[in-house]
Symmetry: C2
Subunit: 358 residues, 2 copies
DNA sequence: TTGTAAGCGTTATCAA
DNA sequence: TTGATAACGCTTACAA
């Protein structure tokens, strides 16, 4: 008797409910335990005869175990929680992509929670994902969660932070080497002859990567280079809200300060870069000739804006892959103090940082 | 006695395992069944006194039910499976974002599976997600899955297709009104004076949206407009592989054909648009003046490439939201024949389709 | 080497 | 109105 399951076979298509381990056991004429053993401890403890009977039955019923039931029993779900501050951010997407690939290869599935830039929902995200028994977290968030992430870590769930540190937490951290990348970009502007520099970023608030970049910029311009005496730098935080008037203002005063020297801008991510480009367009200044521009994040459109935008490319795919990799290592039992993994950026010089037409 | 759970309280932090319904029952001095009732059938059947005791206990233990256990018991998981052909595609991301928001609001969580453009993994994706008891699917894929999606549907799991139809399947379908959007763009080029038109897309293969756009373009140029007699159109499929030589070739012959008339290009998505822009740059033709360009998909960088790219914007957020909405309606029991929901595109004219400087 | 049975955290059925 | 109790599909002592 196939019992209950088949009772509701009414007129319409008979959905042939998924086979369970009990079905397989019955089909093979063995106990559920045996089937389970076949699945989990294949090699040890199994008569050839029985093993093959089980194998056949599994095949015949197209059986695959229910991860839900396994999770309930084992406490492990083969699920990884990914929380991003904003899926719209191309950087987050790239990381997502890298991480997703690595997870899949290791047999994990990603549960995605997007904060939509509302950092208050971070702890909700972590709670929800925890309820689903995710085994670990990859977090690309601000950490304004009142320690929800730290809680998770305390409950023994490994956590990997990507791009943004949480001040209150010790965890693996994977990120661009921000200081190095800033030096790369600033150095480049200096070499190309730009002397009055402006670092434009989104509001720094508590976003660690922004803080690091800003600090590195300051450090660079304050420590005079060998042979470079007329270098000066300042910073500006641009928001989407206060229109672009403020940004234009900042650019105007940059040029005023520059005097005969060339002004240059280092922008801290792709969104800001676009704002700068727009403002420069409105001011009628030519990229490269009138003002140098180097921006963080290389995008597919970078080569085609104006004379081509000079950018600092982040190894985004790698970041995602490595983040997932760290997590999976921990899940497999690696015990190690928290690691920091910093990857180098790569400078892609283009027209926006060429002051003299070639 | 709190029993087992606390046994392992060794030196390190005591992970204070999640409270279960049994803990709550004990704390409140009632049975598990009562707690369950409180949670699921709050209003009916419950003494005020008992109800408040349960409430207090839940509060005290910070209890929340395990979705895993619920899923096992109920067969419903509050999970929705999202399969995308390629997360890198900005369109997919936008849809993802819209869908994620709608799902969250309805109390569902998204399980993400990215195919990384390997359509053979589609049925693996669907199988995996099915195993996790997702209640339904949002699919932005090719449908080369040998009916795995159709299987899902047959097993009673609602499916919503976004942007790409699966030929073998009847399911809700949410998409841009491709034909209308193509008319919008082509009409615009004609009005702006471009007469020898080229439609550039990625290989059409079996991607329904590409087919529809190509067909609509053909139809448009073959049905002469009132008063427009010298219109001619052709199509070209551009791949990333065969270098861009082929594309340049196509553009050259476009111009040859145009003779004294103005050549114009309609490109079928953002990636292709960039390829076209790059090719035109190499050829040294000016956007707008030498050749008109209108591209599908408005992006944040569209205004800043060359003189600004004229684009046809898709209501991506809406598409995602509506797709999720359809699915959730079905999950709540809506019985209806498969729907097709087509949203209109919006034309954003910019410099790339202005033939005479103003 | 295999089977029996208990239990993971819920909900649903039945009595009480 | 509430409480035992049996499932849901799986794993794992323990017994055989």
């Amino acid at each position: 008797m196939r019992a209950k399951k088949q009772v509701h076979n009414s007129a319409a298509a008979a959905p042939a409910a998924r086979a369970t381990i009990a079905d397989v056991a019955r089909e093979a004429g063995v106990s559920k335990a045996t089937v389970s053993r076949f699945l989990n401890h294949r090699e040890r403890l199994l008569t050839k005869d029985i093993a093959s009977r089980v194998e056949v039955a599994i095949e015949a019923l197209a059986y695959s175990p229910s991860p839900m039931a396994q999770a309930l029993k084992r406490g492990r779900s083969r699920l990884i929680g990914l929380v991003v501050a904003d899926v719209t951010n191309p950087f987050s997407v790239a990381v997502l992509r890298g991480a997703e690939k690595a997870c899949q290869q290791a047999g994990y599935l990603l549960m995605l929670f997007n904060l939509g830039n509302d950092s208050r929902r971070e702890s909700e995200a972590i709670k929800t994902l925890t309820a689903y028994q995710v085994e670990g977290f990859i977090l690309n968030t601000l950490g304004r969660d009142n320690g929800a992430a730290a809680d998770a870590a305390r409950h023994g769930k490994p956590v990997v932070l990507v791009d943004r540190r949480h001040h209150d937490m010790q965890a693996d951290f994977v990120s661009l080497d921000n200081a190095g990348a800033v030096r790369l970009g600033t150095q480049h502007l200096v070499e190309r002859g730009y002397r009055e520099l402006l670092f434009v970023s989104e509001p720094v608030k508590d976003v660690s990567s922004r803080e690091e970049r800003k600090a590195a910029f300051r450090a660079f311009v304050e420590a005079p280079q060998a042979g470079v005496t007329d270098l000066h730098g300042s910073t500006f935080e641009s928001t989407a809200e206060d229109g672009d008037a403020a940004l234009e203002q900042a650019l105007r005063s940059l040029r005023r300060r520059a005097g005969k020297r060339l002004p240059g801008v280092l922008s801290s991510n792709a969104v800001v870069t676009l704002r700068v480009v727009a403002a420069l367009a409105r001011l009628g200044w030519r990229l490269g000739a009138d003002v140098g521009l180097v921006g963080f994040d290389d995008t597919e459109w970078s080569p085609y804006v104006g004379p081509g935008l000079s950018t600092i490319a982040q190894p985004t795919d790698e970041l995602g892959r490595i983040a997932a990799g760290c997590l999976i290592e921990r899940l497999q039992g690696l015990e190690l103090p928290p690691r920091q993994i910093l990857l180098s950026g790569r400078l892609l010089p283009r027209g926006s940082s060429v002051s003299t037409p070639t």
